[in-house]
């Protein structure tokens, strides 16, 4: 960036290259990408890399401490829980569940959210008021509470957790898409396209939507991390994924009674959640820097 003034004819980098340069300029984001990639890879490959089955109970090894603590052994690197299950295996398999729910709920809120937002932007007088009022109502119930509402109706479980979290994230996408699309529709290139005879669908998805992607991608990253936190929160409250399915929050809920006797049962799942969420948030900061030069000036 600093050297561009010295060059006479700037050699314009491709958008992908420019994005990558912007992203890697933020060292925290780059480190976070590596950490997250490792976590994701380990979770995806959990059946291959996990030493044991996540639900196998070793009755002779209940509450075995991790290898670095007194009384620990290499047999169970992260120790075992109250039922003698290997914590490392549960964390690895749990990653599949937690990351999977996060990803699924992001997609499930992103797609309808974008569609509703575009509709609201293109039909400002007919559809928009209805959509936005409904979104306002949904926004009046903050994240986890709306999810609890949905769980109350649907009952706990893996699929219902995805639905509950997706519904909670929906208003964010709708409002964001609408705001971004409204800003674009006022511009000349959209008018030109309209005059040239482009239909509404083409205007929406081909002309306008690609230019609204930057804030949507950043929001998707941030809602991915909050989806993981909410999944864990619901699991902790006993309203999310049900035992014996390994899920990070559900693991913590059972561990509460062992704070004194077996602190590792509490520490490790929470640390895993924290590191995962932290790496996604740092990546989100980097994405914002790389995609949205307007925001970069501040801070």
């Amino acid at each position: 960036m600093m050297s561009t003034t010295a060059e006479v004819i700037p050699d314009y980098p491709s958008p992908a290259k420019e994005f990558w340069q912007g992203f890697t300029a933020n060292r925290g984001a780059f480190a976070a990408l590596i950490v997250f990639a490792l976590i994701a890879l380990a979770s995806i490959l959990s059946p291959l890399v996990a030493p044991y089955s996540p639900i196998e109970q070793f009755r002779d090894h209940m509450l075995t401490p991790p290898v670095w603590a007194e009384g620990g052994s290499w047999q169970f690197i992260f120790g075992t829980d109250e039922l003698g299950r290997d914590i490392l295996s549960r964390l690895l398999h749990g990653g599949r569940v937690s990351l999977g729910i996060g990803l699924a709920s992001v997609l499930l809120s992103l797609l309808p959210g974008v569609l509703l937002g575009l509709l609201a932007a293109f039909y400002q007088h007919s559809i928009s008021p209805i959509i936005m009022r409904v979104m306002d109502i949904m926004l009046a119930l903050p994240g986890l509470l709306l999810a609890i509402c949905v769980i109350t109706v649907l009952g706990p479980g893996l699929i219902n957790t995805v639905i509950a979290i997706a519904i909670g994230a929906l208003p964010g996408y709708t409002r964001l898409t609408r705001a971004a699309a409204l800003a674009e529709t006022a511009k000349d290139y959209v008018t030109a396209s309209r005059v040239a005879g482009a239909g509404v669908a083409r205007l929406m998805f081909v002309t306008v939507l690609p230019n609204c992607m930057a804030p949507l991608i950043v929001n998707a990253t941030l809602s991915f991390s909050s989806a993981i936190l909410e999944t864990a929160g619901l699991g902790f409250l006993g309203l999310g994924v049900q035992a014996p399915t390994p899920e990070w929050g559900t693991m913590l809920s059972a561990a509460r009674d062992y704070i004194q006797r077996a602190p590792w049962v509490v520490t490790l799942p929470g640390l895993t959640i924290l590191i995962t969420v932290l790496s996604i948030n740092l990546m989100g900061d980097g994405l914002r820097d790389a995609l949205d030069p307007k925001l970069k000036k501040v801070g």
Binding site: P142, G143, L145, C149, T152, V153, G233, F236, V277
Partner: protein
């Protein structure tokens, strides 16, 4: 001022009506017979079943049921708990101050510390202090509330024995109920031990609940501060030789507060949601724990009321924030 209030109310009213629809639909959307779902394992003879259907008005057409529900709401009747058989409004009156006390303490902690740290980071931009504060803020923002609570309990309550593990006050004190806020009530009681006990019980939950808000406020204050410090009027103020502290506190901070205020309003939502988790961890007898316990007991009238109250609180706080804008920023006031 009143015009601004009227305009706000016009947008709030439809939302409030929508929320009553959500709360109303909650029981009726549950698949299957709502009475059977509510009773769960508890067996019910057909006669009692029919009586309950009639009592809850479930035999009426839906619009009639809704109208009935709203008109009862308007009279402060939130229904009756299926478990305790007490009016929900009565239980709520006892529990609500506990949540308000917790949330207010968390917000106070978050805003004072967040403003101070954010200002410090903004003024010392790029320094070690700045990097430390921003790093901590990113971690704080990513923190799973319930785990953070457990870790603090493990460290401060179990290992060091400094703070109690759960509840609002030690059982040895029987403080007369005046306001429902234990800090105030125990202060009024004149018993020093009771007040100290209430403080010690409050400190960890408030810290846990306030952490993510603290992080957000610190980040927002810093970036808002950086932006304001570049403004011409700051340079003017400095150039005319004003005391640097005065420039920061009076000229910069007041203008930097505007975006921070928005964030505080939005954070009330996450405080309410966080209260559900925090109260569960610390067995804090407030609305959040009540809500979760009631879901487990399938006490639907309570769940209905809990959702309604949380949403109404959130809406009310944002309304207040909207009005406060005008107080902090005269430019907005003149717009209305």
């Amino acid at each position: 001022m009143f015009a601004c209030l009227r305009k706000n109310l016009a947008t709030v009213l439809p939302t409030l009506i929508g929320i009553t629809l959500v709360a109303f639909g909650l029981i009726r959307l549950v698949p299957g017979d709502p009475i059977e779902v509510m009773m769960g394992e508890r067996r019910l003879d057909p006669e009692a079943h029919a009586a309950l259907v009639k009592q809850m008005g479930l035999d009426q057409p839906l619009p009639v049921q809704y109208f009935d529900y709203v008109s009862k709401l308007a009279q402060g009747d939130l229904g009756e708990s299926l478990v305790s058989r007490e009016p929900v409004a009565k239980e709520f009156a006892v529990l609500f101050p506990a949540t308000v006390e917790l949330a207010a303490a968390a917000l106070l902690l978050a805003v004072t510390l967040g403003l101070a740290l954010g200002m410090l980071a903004g003024l010392k931009r790029g320094s070690l202090v700045d990097q430390g504060v921003m790093g901590a803020a990113t971690v704080g923002y990513s923190m799973p509330v319930f785990w953070w609570g457990l870790i603090l309990i493990m460290f401060f309550s179990v290992n060091l024995g400094w703070t109690p593990v759960s509840g609002r006050i030690s059982i040895e004190y029987d403080v007369a109920r005046v306001t429902g806020f234990l800090l105030i009530d125990s202060w009024l009681s004149g018993e020093e031990g009771a007040f100290r006990s209430a403080c010690m019980h409050l400190i960890l939950p408030a810290l846990v609940l306030g952490t993510s808000t603290l992080a957000v406020v610190a980040r927002m204050t810093r970036s808002s501060m950086l932006e304001v410090l570049r403004e011409d009027y700051i340079r003017t103020a400095r150039a005319k030789g004003l005391n640097p502290t005065r420039v920061v506190v009076v000229h910069a901070l007041r203008n930097a507060l505007i975006p921070v205020l928005t964030v505080v309003g939005m954070q009330t939502g996450s405080l309410l949601a966080g209260a559900v988790l925090t109260e569960t961890i610390f067995s804090w007898p407030g609305i959040g724990k009540w809500l979760i316990d009631s879901i487990a007991r399938r006490d639907y009238p309570v769940v209905q009321a809990g959702i309604l109250i949380s949403a109404a609180t959130f809406i009310a706080v944002n309304l207040i924030v909207d009005i406060l804008y005008g107080v902090v920023n005269p430019r907005i006031r003149s717009l209305h």
